[in-house]
Symmetry: C2
Subunit: 111 residues, 2 copies
Amino acid sequence: MLDPDLIAQHRQELRRGTTSLACLALLAATPDYGYRLIGRLADLGFEVEANTLYPLLRRLDKQGLLSFEWDTSEARPRKVYATAPAGIELVSLLRADWNRLTEALDRMDRP
Amino acid sequence: MLDPDLIAQHRQELRRGTTSLACLALLAATPDYGYRLIGRLADLGFEVEANTLYPLLRRLDKQGLLSFEWDTSEARPRKVYATAPAGIELVSLLRADWNRLTEALDRMDRP
């Protein structure tokens, strides 16, 4: 009855805003390389592709929510991202929003 | 420290996907006019403006997730929207996604 493309579209919309939040929360706990962050996100159920994640990390960096240092210990320098103080502040605001939305959805189930 | 526009942008992203879900869930419980749905959403903490909600309702109708009947009991005919069977199915899928995302976010807090 439900068109798979339609389901996918609505799922993606629901998920989109949470990916930034998940990245900021994970990189606040432990700074990491982009490619390892993809694995940590996947472990939590957030399937994010590299060509989605890398532009997102650059955007969050430009917004002052993340910062990075170069790890030059190997042949090719790699960026190690960490959540900036502004990003940590945003995580707590967005978590509060998320909790309010969850409560609102729960209240709908018992009108 | 945090730019208010930046906060607003991230909040809106987080919220966007949930508005469709909230509309479908509310109109599954009780069919309603668009303008009254705005009030029911606001009561639950979803501030949605008419010029956002009306195009959304038309989109959900085109997607077969909502249907409407004309209420002609007053001078000006009005649409009464109700969630279609496909919409009810989608609500339960998206609620399951939401619960998984909530669990994932909760797990981040205790790494």
